[in-house]
Amino acid sequence: MFLRKILMASLLLCGATITVAQESRFGTPATQADIDKRFWSTFPDGENLPDGQGTAMLGKPLFEEQCTICHGTPEARGENDVLFGGHGTIGTDKALATVGSYWPYATTVFNYIRKAMPYTAPMSMTNSEYYSITAYLLYENGIIGEGDVINKETLPDVKMPNAGNFIMAYPEVPEEYSIQK
């Protein structure tokens, strides 16, 4: 074990000396602007969340204007994915997976709608508008209050009801769910 550690350390050192001048044979060095244009991922711990903020109150009219036509309302479902309700149905044969009943991270809601919705005009709203619609979806699913401010500090702290129910299956499905006994 100790020997392995020394070996690893010396390997890393070698690696460091060889790659002092990091070069690409045919690639071009990327600027921050190159990265910002293409990098839309935001993370559960808040990494890469943008400035801006909103509340459910502000989000409701935006949702009704931009989203209801395809996703319906909390009372009446629309043609596309249901975004409200379904609480307590996961694990039954009537599972209704929605933002509220299934999604483990609130940051995913903001991340997805900001880059992909409205479906026919993605990225067409401001960060504060997307924060507000996120707040509205969380509020209607009973997860936050109507006036709670959602921004890059508060969004990662939102606890989603189904968060504890996901099992890491890579590289191996845990024994109890494995078919290969």
Binding site: L12, T19, Q22, E23, S24, R25, F26, G27, T28, P29, A30, D34, I35, R38, F39, W40, S41, T42, F43, P44, D45, I90, G91, D93, A95, A97, V99, Y102, W103, P104, Y105, T107, T108, N111, Y112, K115, A116, Y119, P122, N165, F166, I167, M168, A169, Y170, P171, V173, Y177, S178, I179, Q180
Partner: protein, 433 residues
């Protein structure tokens, strides 16, 4: 042959050069005309029929000019296609184009018949305005366009791609689906992919030893993102730029895509433009809301990335009935996301007895393998099944075993043994057996 009886009407447009040099095309045409004249001209031969009598018309004249881009026979159009007619009331089935496995042979799927699932449509990307950037936990970020990628030494490998939603109808549907094989197995295909190993590009950027995941994002209108484990990225993941010898098609990620051999298709990000090296997964919609497998106890499997060992008989199948008693070849496909297929067994009695099928080589890792076995059908009812085993001894489960372990709501990663029942008249139906 002599040309002496022939009169040529020369169209100036047909002249290829001065002093009578004509287009080669015209020569072909006039030769036919000449031939025809000759055949009827000589009275001495009048009693004798021309030798071509009874031949089909396409044998008796030169065919069409070569097309710029080859297509299937017009008689195959509409027969070999990617869609089944959507059920009445449903507007379209076009968000997933499915491979008609029951109509194909071999293991390579023609590019135009490769399955394809799109969540946000197919972008029409101008390659001159598309670049892929590697950034995050690297010493130095770089970017590449497709012409730059072309300069690297490439690798060409045959791999299957399968959507983890393939065969999902077998989880929850109360009745076995009868839409030929489109709905049950049409989301798996095999291709030769050519590209640059991702590890080559990562090496150039200098990946931090603390890196654990790479977040890949596409340039489609959903900027679809998935997290790739770093061990996979450094192993056999490639940035593919060619499929079956030609540049990727738009629906397959033109001009560049990620290809993770053996992984569920959704992770092989098409139209890739950002690779962010980091120490945690992004938890995108496609690894939380979708592509997670719901279990009977309310838990869900997440990052079930490697496709399970699986097989299916493609002939006979419910698209192809048996016409009469006699000897048939049972053939089908087997694959495993972890490696090579080691063995395929076939049963004609619903799983009571099994015989080992012949595997057609070369057997390649993470690629479709075709199996064959002769079968004498004596007109009795039968249930045909195939069961694949991979090089690690993983065995394709029965439907009962799979449902017992996972319940009926998993939606993704259905990979149980598939059953075709054959009745005394030779009609084939999909059954749950």
């Amino acid at each position: 042959m002599t040309e002496k009886n022939k009169t040529l009407v020369v169209d100036p447009l047909d002249q290829a050069a001065g002093n009578g040099l004509m287009s080669r095309r015209l020569f072909l045409n006039s030769a036919i005309a000449g031939g025809a004249t000759l055949a009827t001209a000589g009275n001495a031969f009048a009693q004798e029929a021309v030798v071509g009598e009874g031949q089909e018309e396409w044998t008796l004249m030169p065919g069409d000019d070569l097309p710029e881009y080859g297509d299937v026979s017009r008689y195959e159009k509409g027969r070999v296609k990617r869609f089944v007619a959507p059920p009445p009331g449903l507007a379209t089935a076009s968000l997933s184009g499915r491979t008609p496995l029951h109509l194909l042979h071999g293991t390579i799927t023609p590019s135009g018949l490769h399955f394809e699932v799109t969540h946000h449509g197919i972008p029409d990307i101008d390659p001159d305005r598309h670049e892929m950037v590697i950034h995050g936990m690297v010493k130095k970020p770089f970017k590449w366009n497709v012409e730059q990628l072309e300069n690297y030494p490439t690798v060409s490998r045959q791999y299957f791609l399968e959507c983890s939603g393939n065969t999902r109808v077998n989880w929850a549907d109360p009745k076995p689906d009868q839409n030929f094989m489109y709905m049950t197995h049409g989301l798996v295909s095999g291709s030769e992919w050519t590209g640059v190993p991702l590890s080559t590009l990562l090496d150039e950027c200098g990946v931090s030893p603390d890196a654990k995941w790479i977040i890949a994002e596409g340039a489609d209108s959903g900027s679809l993102a998935r997290s790739i484990p770093i061990d996979k990225a450094l192993d056999d993941t490639m940035v593919a730029i060619y499929q079956n010898g030609e540049r990727l098609r738009p629906s397959q990620g033109y001009p560049m895509r990620i290809l993770n051999p053996g992984f569920e298709g959704n992770v092989s990000i098409k139209w890739v433009r950002s690779l962010y090296v980091t120490d945690k997964p992004v938890m995108s919609r496609f690894e939380t809301s979708k592509y997670t497998d719901k279990l009977h106890d309310g838990k869900s499997l997440q990052f079930s990335l490697e496709m399970d060992v699986k097989s299916v008989i493609t002939r006979p199948s419910n698209a192809l009935s048996l016409e009469k008693r006699g000897m048939y070849e049972i053939t089908g496909l087997a694959w495993s996301g972890r490696g090579k297929i080691a063995k395929v067994e076939v049963s004609a009695d619903g799983g009571r007895t099994w015989a080992e099928a012949m595997l057609e080589g070369p057997i390649q890792s993470k690629m479709l393998t075709r199996f064959r076995i002769p079968w004498m059908w004596e007109g009795r009812p039968a249930i045909l099944q195939s069961r694949a085993i991979d090089e690690f001894g993983r065995v394709q489960p029965s439907r009962k075993e799979l449902l017992a372990a996972r319940g009926r709501q998993a939606y993704y990663h259905y990979h149980a043994i598939h059953s075709w029942s054959i009745n005394a008249r030779g009609a084939v139906r999909h059954v749950f057996a």
